[in-house]
């Protein structure tokens, strides 16, 4: 809309149709044209950002002409003035991060130029490993997260990646404040170890390991180390997906690389920016349970199923009692509340001829939708850069943050027990009052409580908190030895200090039998990284563009932790702050160190930006691997061809603005095993002699000197296509990945005394397609509509698990059988169980239909299917494949509508074809005397309901993994809906503001899914690749409504 049309003549640059000011300008233009002939003319105007309407400082305005360039930059108010020889003239406006614009100027009147964010144009610069590259020259698959998505309100940036880029599958496994998301780029390569991508934050390599911020004190879901970083500090996120892009990160590149660049100051005046929002949250969906009278009836059915002699002590209710109980007490509701979220960011940035700086501060506070769960963060950042001389530049990026998290107790992904605080509420009988009549918690010896304490009181009075302090800072110096040769040395450190406190008072379930239970843990992990690179960058005659990089880097990580526990406290006053007043329990301390040394080299060559080659090689040495296999070598090659720059392409130029073909191949590695995995180390196992504890020590694992790298070999082919003058941008990639020498715990013969040994065997493949389409659907003077579609499919398959092993079952929760299998030919994360076919009828029994062994089955019990007609009973051999947690495809659809000063964006995101094992439902359908059950049991078979579809109530149900609990987890979710209004610059200039924007946002407003549980994203065992898609009662997801304001002075 910024282009001014010419009303007549044969100007070369007459692009498309424009509607702006045609009639008005007619006469004016003629006038200007005539009057300015032969004189110096001053043109002036203002540069604004299209979506926010904020002024753009430092945009370059140049006259398009042959010979010497004349130009200027926009000032602090976005204004510019430029003298030109004559009108009309074509000016080019450019600024990093925006699309270049060419405008034909016919008049001397001030003009307003709106710059549009550049999401995909080949002319832009992209951050790649150890440098930047013109997008046109790139050979690998690199995606940039759209700035619009990054601007969404969120506690942690990992949550923002959902649906952002094709091929990146992000699952928000728990909705608890501050919790972590699981991120997989192009599927999981590894079965057992490390599928998370590598994060590179301002050049610093961070492998996010949540274990480093967990001390073992307390319980509950893992603290998310990434939540320490303030999302508002992030300028851009680039995701490296194929081997050509990631191989420069060698051993740590196999799972993809997320490159995060934080905001920097820009040359120009000082700028102050504030962004704040406040919102409320409510649980999106509740678990449907029986009410009190329905529960009473269930109890009577259980009672009836027990032989008369065994009925002593069992619940039985008379009709009068059932009627009197009515709805009873809703324990779930008692713990749910309206949550809130608020965030305040303030930053000051600027720069002069020699320095650039940015200082920012952030406060984030979220109160969860369940009592006693919240998350707070304070963080600050300083980014500074100075040109010490023309040849020497120094810079630093530093941030520190302190976050506090209060969590619900209960199992995290690494615990296998169904003991979460929230599920304990679901299981409490609706017949039991939550409170006494005086408002105190009901802890009477009511036999319908499964514990002797009040589960709501347990949640509220148990302290379970984490204080996480993190500092990530690096400094670097760059020296131009000769103009084209730059030496860069950087050093940085990442320090995280975690303190966790836990106290269960004597009147809670966990503290009851031990008179109060406390634990305090502290862990400190520090990592430092030194990188030394030498870059040679030269173009020969504007034809041959060469960029050569060599480097040596070394990274060290060390951690120390202590954990102290005590029980048997005389009172509950000092909680975890005075362990000495209780009786000491096991103490623990530990430490580890690990080191990685690397040599790297890369050559980028481009011929006229038409033919591009990238060759890279990295050698990595990792201390965690076996003595014989410390070093791994990871090469890659990438080719690309900008077809549109060929002469023969001229005729298509108008339809196809850009066309690029990419091909790449390479290898990357994964060595993400814990330190000392290759050594024969001893473990403690203690015993008592004469009631006194003695320490026993014995080897706990076998030595493996040949423990080496997992290697991922990847091939990628891609097309980048822009149509109709960049109105449609399309990126399509296909890839094939094969990971060999998997780090697997290979089963040993059990008679060796060891169950498994860590070895490099087996292989996994991933193949897939990825598509991103950006379109500018409508573009008029006052209205625009832009869309982005992201779509990806990935097929994961285990090719081998080593010689003689066709499958194994990962460890199951205590008291249960494993619902998943790891099997050759199947994807990782495959459900394994029985198929069923309704309920057993009297006829079935009479006909000798095969019955499940281990229980006595009769009419109204589940009818299982055999896998072979030869089976006369149902045993575990009748279990079979029931689906996979891997989606057929994932995608997102985002839209931005702009009308004058108003923007409307909505963002849909979804997954199709993945299955979820509804373990919570399985547990809630167990008919027990001591716990509440799912409302689905209303449809159980009974004497009064012979057409019921669920099995009859019994007192001895065994939980089986059956097809009914393996549900379709497909969903489409309206993740974000934002309406914003930018106050016109004319109005806000009175308060000397450059930009003022107010917005309202709704998050997670709508979810379309067939899944019966509360959240189709539920993924209880977050980090465990073999147990994906298991819903074991997660923290409820919430709908959020918030209002925000953003102002720039």
């Amino acid at each position: 809309m910024a282009k001014l049309p010419l009303f007549f003549g044969n100007y070369k640059k007459f692009p498309g149709f424009h509607v702006r000011k045609i009639s008005v300008l007619f006469l004016l233009t003629v006038f200007t044209f005539l009057s300015s002939f032969g004189q110096q003319v001053e043109i002036s105007g203002k540069v604004l950002e299209e979506s926010s309407k904020a002024t753009v400082i430092g945009a370059t305005i140049k006259v398009k002409q042959k010979g010497p360039q004349t130009g200027t930059v926009s000032d602090a108010k976005g204004d510019f003035r430029l003298n030109v020889k004559s009108l009309p003239v074509t000016i080019v406006i450019s600024s990093i991060g925006y699309k270049n614009q060419e405008i034909d100027v016919y008049e001397a009147d001030p003009i307003t130029i709106y710059l549009i964010e550049d999401q995909n144009r080949l002319s832009s610069v992209v951050v790649v490993g150890y440098g930047t590259q013109k997008r046109s020259d790139i050979t690998g698959s690199v995606s940039t997260v759209s700035p619009g998505l990054l601007a969404q309100p969120s506690a942690s940036f990992d949550n923002l990646l959902q649906g952002s880029v094709s091929g990146v599958v992000t699952t928000q496994s728990s909705n608890a404040p501050g919790s972590t998301a699981s991120i997989r780029i192009r599927g999981g390569n590894s079965v057992n170890f490390g599928n998370d991508p590598l994060y590179v934050i301002d050049g610093f390599l961070v492998y996010n390991n949540n274990d480093n911020v967990n001390t073992g004190a307390g319980s509950g879901i893992t603290v998310n180390a990434l939540s320490t970083i303030n999302p508002s500090d992030i300028e851009s996120i680039d995701i490296l997906k194929d081997a050509s892009a990631t191989a420069i990160y060698g051993a740590r590149g196999a799972n993809g690389v997320v490159i995060i660049s934080t905001k920097k100051g820009k040359k120009g005046v000082n700028q102050v920016n504030y962004n704040g929002y406040y919102g409320t949250q409510r649980a999106a969906k509740k678990v449907q349970l029986l009410n009190a009278s329905q529960w009473d009836q269930l109890q009577n059915d259980i009672y009836a199923s027990v032989p008369v002699a065994s009925r002593v002590g069992l619940n039985y209710f008379t009709d009068a009692q059932i009627a009197a109980d009515a709805a009873g007490y809703d324990w779930q509701n008692a713990a749910l509340k309206t949550g809130s979220v608020q965030n305040h960011d303030i930053s000051i940035s600027g720069g002069d001829e020699k320095s650039r700086y940015l200082i920012s501060g952030n406060y984030f506070d979220q109160k969860g939708v369940v009592v006693s769960s919240d998350f707070q963060r304070y963080s600050g950042r300083i980014n500074y850069e100075r040109d010490v001389s023309k040849k020497f530049k120094v810079s630093t990026n530093a941030f520190g943050s302190r976050s506090t998290e209060n969590k619900l107790t209960g199992s995290g992904y690494n615990s296998l027990n169904f003991n979460g605080a929230f599920p304990s509420l679901l299981l409490t009988s609706p017949r039991t009052p939550v409170y006494n009549t005086d408002g105190s918690y009901n802890t009477s010896t009511n036999s319908y409580l499964s514990t002797t304490t009040n589960p709501l009181q347990d949640i509220i009075s148990t302290k379970n908190n984490t204080y996480l302090t993190r500092v990530l800072a690096n400094v670097s110096g760059e020296y131009k030895i000769i103009p084209d040769l730059t030496l860069k040395v950087s050093g940085g450190t990442d320090i995280s200090i975690t303190k966790q406190n836990y106290y269960a008072p004597s009147y809670t379930n966990a503290g009851n039998s031990v008179s109060g239970s406390a634990s305090v843990g502290m862990t400190q992990v520090n990592s430092w990284l030194n990188e030394n690179t030498l870059t040679y960058d030269h173009d020969f005659n504007d034809k041959h563009f060469l960029n050569v990089l060599v480097g040596y880097t070394t990274q060290y990580q060390g951690g120390e932790s202590v954990l102290a526990n005590a029980q048997l406290f005389p009172n509950d006053i000092s909680t975890y702050n005075n362990l000495a007043s209780g009786t000491a329990q096991p103490l623990a301390s530990s430490s580890f160190t690990s080191t990685t040394n690397s040599y790297l080299a890369r050559i980028n060559y481009s011929y006229k930006h038409k033919y591009n080659v990238t060759v890279s090689e990295r050698a990595d040495g990792a201390s965690v691997l076996g003595a014989n296999k410390k070093w791994g070598y990871f090469p890659s090659v990438g080719l690309s061809w900008n077809v549109n720059k060929e002469g023969f392409f001229k005729p298509f130029e108008k339809t196809i603005s850009d066309l690029k073909i990419r091909l790449s191949a390479g290898q990357t590695g994964n060595s993400n095993v814990p330190p000392y995995s290759s050594l024969q180390s001893l473990g403690t196992s203690n015993y008592y002699f004469n009631n006194t504890l003695v320490t026993g020590l014995a080897p706990s694992q076998l030595e493996n000197k040949n423990l080496g790298w997992e290697t991922t070999t990847q091939f990628d082919a891609g097309i980048d296509l822009s149509l109709l003058n960049n109105k449609i941008n399309l990126v399509l990639d296909g890839y094939y990945k094969k990971t060999t020498d998997l780090l697997l715990n290979v089963p040993l013969p059990l008679y060796t005394g060891y169950q498994s040994a860590l070895e490099n065997v087996g292989s996994v493949q991933n193949k897939g397609l990825e598509l991103t389409v950006n379109t500018e659907n409508i573009k008029t003077k006052n209205f625009s509509w832009r869309s982005t579609i992201v779509w990806a499919t990935n097929a994961n398959k285990i090719l081998s698990l080593g010689k003689g092993v066709s499958n194994y079952f990962p460890l199951a929760p205590t008291g249960q059988v494993s619902p998943v299998i790891v099997a050759v030919g199947q994807p990782v994360g495959t459900f394994w169980g029985y198929s069923t076919n309704g309920l057993l009828t009297a006829e079935d029994i009479a006909n000798g239909y095969p019955l499940l062994t281990g229980v006595s089955q009769t009419v109204g019990d589940q009818k299982y299917l055999t896998t072979s007609s030869a089976h006369k009973t149902i045993t575990t051999v009748d279990k079979h494949y029931l689906g996979s947690a891997q989606p057929s495809f994932t995608g997102s659809f985002s839209n931005t509508f702009t009308y004058k000063q108003v923007d409307l964006t909505f963002f849909f995101q979804g997954s199709y074809g993945n299955k979820i094992f509804n373990l919570l439902q399985q547990q809630l359908e167990l008919t027990k005397q001591t716990s509440n059950a799912s409302a689905s049991l209303l449809d159980r078979y009974s004497a009064t309901n012979p057409n019921g579809t669920l099995p009859r109530a019994t007192n001895a149900p065994v939980a089986q993994v059956i097809d009914r609990y393996i549900e379709d987890g497909s969903y489409l979710r309206l993740k974000n809906l934002t309406l914003s209004y930018s106050v016109p610059t004319k109005l806000i200039s009175r308060i000397h503001a450059r930009q003022l924007k107010v917005y309202v946002t709704g998050q997670n407003l709508l979810t379309i899914t067939k899944y019966s549980g509360t959240d189709p994203e539920a993924n209880f065992y977050t980090g465990d690749n073999t147990k994906q898609g298991i819903d074991f009662g997660v923290y409820p997801s919430s709908k959020t409504y918030l209002v925000g304001v953003s102002i720039t002075l």
Partner: protein, 521 residues
């Protein structure tokens, strides 16, 4: 400026010299650093003992739970409890288990886990110079203790599974193919057990305070006798038994271990009386932080809510009805109501006939519901068994019961009725066995007494299998016993052989083509 900047950069590089990639753990010990001192030797043997009642993955231990699942739930003493939500546990209680039963696998793993620890101790301790030891006898003692435990675990394995792979050294490779071996014959396993136990009989007869609970020479003699009885080698069994029966209590015995029956049966399971005169060898439990004991069979009780079932339940009322009312074993073994000190009320859990198990409830704990802190030891061998084995051996050797055979069993019966005063002397003969029984009737009486005496003590399945085939029915005693219970639906399996040996775990067979499965599976 140029110089300064270059110096700065080079200094930056120099600061970070190349890091070593050699791992040198400082918070864990590697095998190369260990087995150097007396303390190391003692710790390595403590680790052997620990396998008896703890599991590396915090699963149920062998003694206290997992072995009981096979010998209790697998026999006619127990059925499944409603709280057995694990289908594999349920399958053992209903005799419907299959070769991939996870609990059978777990028991197998745990036995070999202990055997491996013993092998490591037996291999490494002799390499520690004798000068490292404060006392020249300690090194040999530690090796012999390890040999006893290795023999005990192999004895369990050979009875549960038949011939099993005989492993006597720690593996040195992680390559699966180099570790594959086949089954060793039953006889060879027994030879190894007997040889280890013979060595272990040289162990001390008693220990001083801090070592109480270690294996004694007497324990080795009794286990050896039990091995001979299992093999029907009555003569050798008699020789061993005579060495442990306290001299003076029976004519012709030479025992100097001072074992005797505890006159009060209930004290055998009271932690205040642990390692008493009757306890020949026990798996030691204690309350302490550094290990979990919460999977002891004492999950016999966990809540005053009668709707919450414990892990194990008696098969049916017939078990309870074996006892007469004055038998103190009945009230020690079962409960149907308990006093709740918190409320001052007695909670009724069931009718007396449908009682629950009480033996492993630690009644010294307040509140009683905190049974995860139970300190009750698990008796592997008690003197009552010595007497019952003696009665059995004499009956077999002499074509019928001798006077000493009667005296042995009657001592046990008298004690059960609080009529035993010590050193072989009963204060009354009220509950003595009918005199003049035939050999077969006396045999039945001994097995019946064993059943009543050792409920929940990991004996019943072994006893039923040891009796072999019942000539009257043509079935094994085990099958006959199971068939009497309607809950044991799988016991009617057509292959009679099947139920007298547990299968080799399926995963073991899948991994190792050299292993064969037991008949009938």
């Amino acid at each position: 400026m140029k110089k300064i900047s270059i110096i700065l950069l080079l200094a930056g590089i120099a600061l970070y010299s190349c890091n070593s990639l050699i791992e040198d753990p400082n918070s864990s010990i590697s095998a190369g650093q260990f087995y150097k001192t007396q303390a190391d030797a003692i710790s390595s043997v403590s680790a052997v003992y620990s396998t008896l009642d703890s599991d590396p993955a915090s699963d149920f231990p062998i003694y206290g739970r997992n072995l009981n699942l096979l010998t209790g739930n697998g026999s006619d003493d127990q059925i499944y409890a409603p709280s057995n939500t694990n289908p594999d546990v349920r399958a053992l209680g209903t005799a419907t288990y299959i070769t991939s039963n996870d609990r059978v696998r777990k028991s197998w793993v745990q036995h070999y886990y202990g055997i491996n620890r013993a092998n490591i101790a037996i291999d490494n301790i002799p390499k520690i110079p004798l000068t490292q030891f404060s006392d020249t006898t300690i090194r040999l003692r530690l090796i012999r203790e390890s040999k006893f435990i290795r023999a005990l675990l192999y004895f369990n394995l050979v009875r549960l599974h038949g011939g099993v792979p005989l492993v006597l050294h720690d593996p040195t490779t992680v390559v699966v193919n180099q570790l594959l071996i086949g089954r060793t014959s039953k006889d060879s396993i027994y030879q190894q057990i007997i040889s280890d136990l013979n060595d272990a009989t040289n162990l001390p007869s008693t220990y001083s305070s801090s070592n109480i609970g270690r294996v004694t020479g007497g324990a080795a003699h009794v286990l050896l006798a039990k091995v001979y009885v299992t093999r029907k080698d009555w003569q050798n069994a008699l020789v061993e038994l005579k060495k442990v029966i306290t001299s003076g209590s029976f004519a012709g015995v030479t025992g100097n271990y001072n074992y005797d029956l505890n006159p009060v049966f209930s004290q055998l399971f009271n932690p205040n009386y642990k390692n008493g005169v009757e306890h020949v060898f026990s798996a030691q439990f204690g309350t302490g932080a550094a290990r979990s004991t919460n999977t002891l069979s004492s999950s016999n009780f966990n809540s005053f809510n009668p709707s919450i079932y414990p892990g194990d339940l008696p098969a049916d009322s017939t078990l309870f009805q074996l006892f007469d009312a004055s038998d103190t074993r009945r009230s020690t073994t079962f409960f149907s109501s308990l006093y709740n000190s918190a409320t001052g009320k007695t909670v009724v859990f069931s009718t007396p006939a449908n009682s629950r198990f009480a033996k492993f409830i630690d009644f010294t704990i307040t509140p009683l519901t905190s049974q995860s802190l139970s300190k009750v030891n698990f008796p592997v061998i008690r003197y009552a068994e010595v007497l019952l084995l003696y009665a059995e051996v004499l009956n077999e050797l002499n074509g019928g019961p001798t006077a000493d055979a009667y005296k042995a069993i009657n001592n046990v019966r008298a004690r059960a009725h609080s009529l035993y005063s010590g050193n072989g002397i009963a204060t009354a003969a009220t509950y003595d066995l009918t005199s003049g029984l035939s050999q077969a009737d006396f045999r039945d009486a001994v097995f019946n007494e064993r059943r009543k005496e050792f409920i929940q003590e990991a004996q019943r399945w072994f006893d039923l299998v040891r009796r072999g085939v019942n000539q009257g029915t043509g079935n094994s005693y085990l099958i006959d016993a199971l068939k009497k219970l309607p809950g044991k639906t799988g016991a009617f399996a057509p292959t009679a052989n099947r139920d007298t040996l547990y299968p080799v775990p399926q995963v073991e067979i899948d991994l190792n083509p050299k292993l064969t499965q037991n008949p009938g599976w």
